[in-house]
Amino acid sequence: MAYKKRVDGRDWHETRPITAKAGVIPRADGSAYFKIGDTEAYAAVYGPRNLYPRFMQDPATGILRCHYNMMPFSGSGERVRPGGSRRSKEISAVTEKALLPVLDLTEFPNAVVDVFIEFPQTDAGSRCAGICAAAIALADAGLSMKDMVSAIAVGKVDDKLVVDLNYAEESYDAEVADIPIAVIPSTGEITLLQLDGIIDKHDLKKAIENGIETCRKINEVQKNALKEKYRK
């Protein structure tokens, strides 16, 4: 049986409603809130600041450290035990790689820029929401960036190519491919790419093209969030 209509009634290439806000955590050097559907992310940037232990310092450049964390009550099932899991460590690492290409931290040798990403509520697509929030927060912190980074999950549910899978689609009872991607909007370069599931090469290419197009739209929302902070 073919997937005829999306679980929540959206068009195939339509994202869930997005809200973004910059400067939501006064104590941070930069911060942002990014909500897509029922997935909610907060990101806070601290730094450039001193990095300890000292052996971690790099005299050639500042380093970026990302920390992805779900609040214990944010998942749809049981309580998530606090503290890092293998999953959260991996996502932290790929988030770092997704954001680093737009940053230039050579001005800050031996220093660190910490990005903390927290989720009060999740419904799939959290790593992408986290990257979107983190990119706004880095810009809000006033760090030099050559562009934003925007991210979205694309994929295939049964025989249909879709954009922005929610949890119900990710766990749909059919063949599902879930492909989170992050994109530098001005160049279309891809800084994060993962795939869970099964898809052929032709569909994969199309799915990624959908993703790049969607990321350009998300980028507008991110830029607006930053402008909105200074609009009175």
Partner: protein, 260 residues
Amino acid sequence: MNKEIKRHIEETLAKGMRFDGRKADEYRPISVQVGVTKNAEGSARVKIGETDVIVGVKMAVEKPYPDTPEDGTFAVNVELLPLSNPEFETGPPGIQAIELARVVDRGVRESKAVDTKALCIEKAEKAWCIMVDICPINDAGNLFDASSLATILALQDTRFPAFDGIEIDYKTRTEKKIPLHLIPVAVTVYKIGKHLLVDPTIEEDQVSDARLTVCATEDGHICALQKGGNTPLTLSDIEAMIDYALGQIKVLRHNIGVKK
């Protein structure tokens, strides 16, 4: 540096003022919101000035402890997220987080607000376990009062998930609430020099000599205390701080409209 700030704060307090223009016994504006995250069985968000705390309640069914076979359990945990304060670090909870969790826990537990007997499903076999997680989004001082308030509001907001005797269905929430006998409210009084104040900013907290968290029930009974800070208190200090706190608890109850 701290010494100079402290001297300045004391001088200002002596004139009946604070750096942000408040009186000693004045809270920053408080806003409360419940049902803030849909995957938790109950939740609340409390803002006191720029301090911003989210509390979520998750429930599970577990075997009761052997020494209390007819009771469900109740646990409070604090994650001092490094997102909320540049001083907080990643890693397991430090003493600051543990103390905060235990002080909030004590207020709820000792007031006997939660009827743990009513959480028992099957004696010595199955009982509900209530897990409260406190997550600050922005720490601008006074996490004690913000966390305590958010915790009790989140417990009030909690609805049991469906349970068929074997498995919990977290997607289906019932109408059943946590049996709460009464609503304890906590206020922390700070002492700087000879001055008392509530709702400190980070700066005021850092220079304070001592603090006393007082948790009280509606009828004015004190149900939990915690002294913090390095300076000892005399009996008359304690009396003054408790009176101060009880007065503030009444105001807080009235302003927030905390009701059973």
